[in-house]
């Protein structure tokens, strides 16, 4: 039996994914066996708040890169002409290679008349496996800076998290996802059982929420909305409700704007631990109740 996956995403960054997921996983861990997973591989921050150690680190070779033998290269420029990523360029008659733009497709090595280019597999990220300071396991995927294989790192992190879940008999993976709506988001959502869409009541966040909903619908994953900083702009709070109603999406809860939240982040603690009676902590605990209901009624039988 694999653990069921709940993923927290938002197309817009900085709306509170990690604030919600760090407290939500801590709250849920009091009732069920759970693994915390960070698949925001570009900016993995969940482990900072949960105090996760890395008992094991596993490098992942998820991408390939071109390696150029400049001794053999005759600067003919054919490879640069065929490079779709812009990694190979001719500058003043000389071949110039930007390693980090290369996606290892191998077209350059195919067209090179002197066989000066070899494609090799390289490490593109690392998976950290350990425990949070609260005892439950955590798994973090981290993309090396400038790399392109974010989707593969996400998939690996989820695979290792499933293994941890099996070892610890955990029923749920709570996954703190990335912003945006491209590769790492798609990879985080793929195969999951429920998606929590975090938003805030502003025009940009509402536009991005629509993209995140599009991703959840594309993969046919059940989903609900959490409005963070919900009292920030009252008119837009109403607009989020209107949007949710039109799209027939459940609002799982609202978290009011709370100055305790940045303080909790500064102290690297989940808000429900740092200020358990603050308005935002109480709101997140209520969302926790809702999520437990969803786990029992919707996810377990899925």
């Amino acid at each position: 039996m694999t653990a069921k996956e709940i993923v927290i995403i938002s197309a817009k960054g900085g709306v509170g994914k990690t604030t919600l997921s760090s407290s939500l996983v801590l709250e849920l861990s009091k009732h069920i066996s759970i693994v915390a997973v960070d698949t925001d591989v570009d900016a993995p921050n969940l482990g900072i708040v949960l105090g996760c150690n890395a008992e094991r680190t596993i490098p992942v070779q998820a991408s390939e890169k071109a390696f150029i033998d400049f001794e053999k290269c005759i600067n003919c420029g054919l490879c640069a002409k065929h490079c779709k990523e812009g990694a190979l360029e001719m500058i003043d008659g000389k071949l110039h290679f930007t390693y980090y733009l290369c996606e290892g497709c191998g077209v350059c090595s195919l067209v090179c008349p002197v066989k000066a280019i070899e494609i090799k597999r390289v490490e593109s990220g690392i998976i950290k496996i350990g425990k949070s300071r609260y005892g439950f396991p955590c798994v973090t995927g981290e993309l090396y800076v400038g790399e392109s294989a974010s989707g593969h790192i996400v998939a690996s992190a989820k695979r290792f998290a499933q293994m941890e879940a099996w070892k610890h008999k955990a029923e749920i993976l709570l996954i703190d996802g990335p912003p945006g709506s491209s590769c790492p988001t798609i990879s985080s959502v793929t195969g999951s059982h429920y998606v929590i869409l975090v938003t805030e009541p502003t025009p940009a966040a509402l536009s991005d929420l629509d993209r995140a909903v599009g991703i959840a619908r594309h993969f046919k994953i059940p989903h609900g909305i959490v409005i963070n900083k919900s009292d920030l702009v009252p008119e837009f709070r109403d607009k989020v409700y209107k949007y949710a109603k039109t799209m027939n999406i459940e609002i799982l809860g609202e978290i009011p704007y709370d100055k305790k939240v940045p303080e909790a982040i500064a102290n690297e603690r989940p808000i429900i631990e740092y200020a358990p009676n603050s308005p935002s902590a109480i709101a997140i605990k209520e969302i926790g109740l809702k999520v437990r209901e969803i786990i029992i009624h919707k996810i377990k039988n899925a």
Binding site: K12, G14, Y100, G106, V107, I119, S148, G180, A266
Partner: protein
């Protein structure tokens, strides 16, 4: 000479787009010709913050192999060069194609001995133009459900190359993160303005961004946004010291900025005397000085 400046930061939601939009307006107020580029193709927000309408200037396509079975001789060469195995060929069968993992590299078409593979042109997204508050806009958007924004960002940068001579300043708003599409967006810029927030998240992700900019040798100038939300900013100062990057400005946490943001209006337009507007005008002066 056109100055190209990228606005990035590592962490999401630190205020990259807010800074990019208002800085562009600030520079245009100083009588410069400014082009603002939205390279955050999978969450494009420049037009929303500008309250601007977008006009599509072109579709962005990527290579999509289409196999003509009449010409295919089932030699398997295409599958052999497809490094991610989007094409598979076995025995006496025609190649099987898995479009969702294809990265549009075109190797298959290149090696096919009978020219049985042609370009079916997969739509990846769109490039838009617009104009607001004296600033010209160029914006990319990734088609929903597509995994890679690379084609859109590459096309966007090509368009910038074509028209940049008309401008004194090109401001490029990037996506969050430290992946190759952020690199694609910042490459060739004179300086990267790293917008961050004074939290452990902000500092952690800022450090990763500076590692990325070091790779391509572009200097970073740090802007602390929402200064004052926590007692001190030493987490950012530490990164600045470690990486020898300068903190050029702090934008205070400002209710006017939030109100303007919610109304889809830049704070500099809606509340020109608000604390954050004053800070942005000062940033424009500093940026002018840096690029002199």
């Amino acid at each position: 000479m056109t100055n190209i400046i990228a606005v990035s930061g590592g962490k999401g939601g630190t205020g990259k787009t807010t800074v990019a939009v208002n800085l562009a307006i600030a520079l245009s107020k100083k009588k410069y010709k400014v082009l603002l580029v939205d390279a955050d193709a999978d969450a494009p927000n420049v037009h929303i913050l500008m309250g601007a309408s977008r006009e599509k200037i072109r579709d962005v396509y990527a290579f999509l192999p289409v196999i003509d079975n009449e010409k295919c001789i089932k030699c398997g060469e295409c599958a052999k060069v497809c490094r991610i195995h989007a094409l598979i060929q076995a025995g006496d069968h025609y190649p099987v194609f898995f479009p969702e993992i294809c990265t549009s590299c075109g190797a298959c078409a290149l090696v096919c001995p009978t020219k049985a593979i042609s370009d079916g042109q997969k739509l990846m997204g769109w490039i838009y133009s617009g104009h607001a508050y004296g600033v010209d806009l160029l914006m990319g958007e990734l088609k929903l459900g597509e995994a890679s924004a690379a084609a859109v960002v590459v096309e966007l940068k090509e368009e910038v190359k074509k028209i940049m001579a008309n401008y004194d300043w090109v401001i490029i708003d990037t996506s969050p993160g430290v992946h190759c599409d952020v690199l694609r967006a910042i490459i060739n810029s004179k300086v990267v303005l790293a917008v961050t927030e004074p939290t452990p998240f902000g500092s952690h992700d800022l450090k990763r961004l500076i590692t990325l900019t070091n790779v391509v040798g572009i200097p970073v100038k740090i802007i602390i946004n929402r200064a004052g939300i926590v007692a001190d900013e030493k987490v950012i100062k530490k990164v600045a010291d470690e990486t020898k990057s300068e903190i050029i400005a702090s934008i205070p946490y400002d209710d006017f900025a939030i109100r303007a943001y919610a109304n889809g209006k830049p704070v500099l337009v809606e509340y020109p005397n608000a604390p954050s507007s004053v800070a942005i005008m000062e940033i424009a002066n500093i940026v002018e000085e840096i690029c002199k």
